[in-house]
């Protein structure tokens, strides 16, 4: 990947935000009076620290290029799926199916992406893995809760592998007047997804009152969604130059990311709540598991990918005429 001016701006922007966040949380922590406020600031502090690590890893992968990025997302899928299946009660009869899912299907799916084989990338998991999983489990001969177990494994594959992989799939597109710059789009997309999460959290903590779905996630409020969402759309529109979109399109795409990300977070919270846990795992200090950071991305990535492909990919545009 060539490090052009806009990518440099993006990276420096993120680093600047992190520096401000680190300084601000330290000041706020010193000024915190109550025990609860101090605990919150401690959590924010360890979250910020983890953000430094995540930004470093992601930036490094982007700079290495397409292969580095695809490997990074492949590993993230693997870790997310691992958290997902751990919380899902499977039975001994699923053991060999799970081996296939983790060590054959997941790498193969990412290999199709690396290979640029779009058709196979699209149907491999929803069709062939979908059929393979129950076939392999049936061979193992355990009928108890068969449909439920199979559905859980298929769902895990779709969310953690198929959906997540649509983020690095942005690199595959042949965008009009944007050749060789797709890494910037991916960088922009991930930043908007995560900024939307963070801003909704911050606005919700500071002035959140009206809960949206208290039985699913008590932290999600209308104030958080609207104020955090508006700020995110503003940031997304202001940084339109790094994307293939116009300012208005960038704003629309950011709004879509906010909405799908929010609803995705809600869906994944419902699953956690049903399983009686607060976090998906413990891989990232302060944040919980990998899935706790990827939940919004899972739902936003396919939507953004397909709209970009149908609206901006030169091959698709040509076919239409």
């Amino acid at each position: 990947m060539n490090l052009d001016r806009e990518l440099t701006w993006l990276i420096s922007g993120v680093v600047a935000i992190l520096i401000i966040a680190s300084v601000l949380t330290r000041i706020l922590k010193k000024r915190a009076r109550s025990e609860g406020a101090r605990a919150t600031m401690d959590n924010v502090l360890s979250r910020t620290r983890a953000w430094w690590g995540m930004v470093a890893v992601f930036t490094l992968a982007i700079l290495i290029g397409q292969t580095g990025t695809i490997i990074l997302f492949g590993l993230l899928s693997f870790m997310a799926l691992r958290e997902f299946i751990t919380l899902t009660p499977t039975r001994p009869g699923d053991h060999r199916t799970l081996f296939w899912v983790f060590f054959i299907i997941t790498p193969l799916h990412y290999w199709y992406l690396q290979d640029g084989w779009y058709g196979m990338f699209c149907i491999f998991i929803p069709v062939y893995a979908f059929l393979f999983v129950p076939m392999r489990s049936a061979l193992a001969g355990d009928c108890e809760r068969f449909l439920e177990r199979t559905a859980k494994i298929q769902w895990g594959l779709l969310i953690c592998v198929y959906c997540v992989s649509h983020a690095p799939a942005l690199l595959m597109l042949d965008l009009k007047d944007y050749a060789g710059q797709n890494a910037k789009l991916l960088f922009w997309f991930v930043i908007i997804v995560e900024i939307s999460d963070v801003l909704q959290y911050v606005w919700g903590k500071t002035c959140g009152k009206h809960k949206i779905a208290p039985s699913v996630s008590p932290n999600k409020t209308w104030e958080g969604l609207l104020c955090g969402g508006l700020c995110t759309v503003g940031i997304g529109a202001a940084s339109w130059q790094v994307t293939p979109y116009s300012p208005l399109q960038a704003a629309g795409m950011s709004a879509l990311i906010v909405l799908t990300g929010f609803l995705g977070g809600l869906v994944m919270s419902a699953i956690k709540r049903d399983r009686g846990v607060k976090d998906w795992g413990h891989a990232i200090a302060g944040h919980g598991g990998v899935m706790d950071r990827l939940d919004s991305l899972c739902f936003a990535a396919p939507v953004v990918f397909h709209i970009t492909r149908y609206g901006f990919d030169s091959h698709v545009l040509l076919q239409r005429f």
């Binding site: 691992r82 053991h95 795992g281 891989a283």
Partner: protein, 203 residues
Amino acid sequence: MISGLIAGSLRMATGALARWHGCGPELRQRIYFANHTSNLDGPLLWASLPAPLRMRTRMVAAHDYWSVGRLRPWLAQSVFRAVLIERKKPTAECNPLDTMLQALGDDHSLIIFPEGGRQTSPDPQPFKAGLFHLAKRRPEVELVPVWMENLNRILPKGEFLPAPLLGSLVFGTPIRLEAGETKVDFLERARQSVICLRETTCS
């Protein structure tokens, strides 16, 4: 160094989270006893201990399993420094209890699986008497119950390919043999002290 590497990769491969609920990782003589569902149990419990403790803790394992082939004996001797016992036909010359007492010595700790073998049932099976005899002969050694979660899903009995799920272990409050407590009562209490740790893994 190799043993540190192996311990690290074991923790990474199983994504294991060790939680010290009823006691801390202290450097003192202990017998860790746990439920047994997978061949990974012993190595992972060993690997989850902080390095200074790990150096002085030896797992008790079956001679018939760990002396097969070339890799297993090397792992058992050079890495885990396992205490291999004869579980099929104990004789007067090679009584497992004597071997374990000898391995415990003055400053070592042990890892034992009192069910005797790997189980596939959801609850641990009744404990074998070894734990009771150890407690009787060495009353000053702390007996720490450990619950091992999900290891049977990572590498179940009878499988050789793993599924990379996340395991976890919980260390409970140490128990000891009460005055006048019978063997049956003690073994059942020890078993319950392991089972009740399972509840804490879900929270």
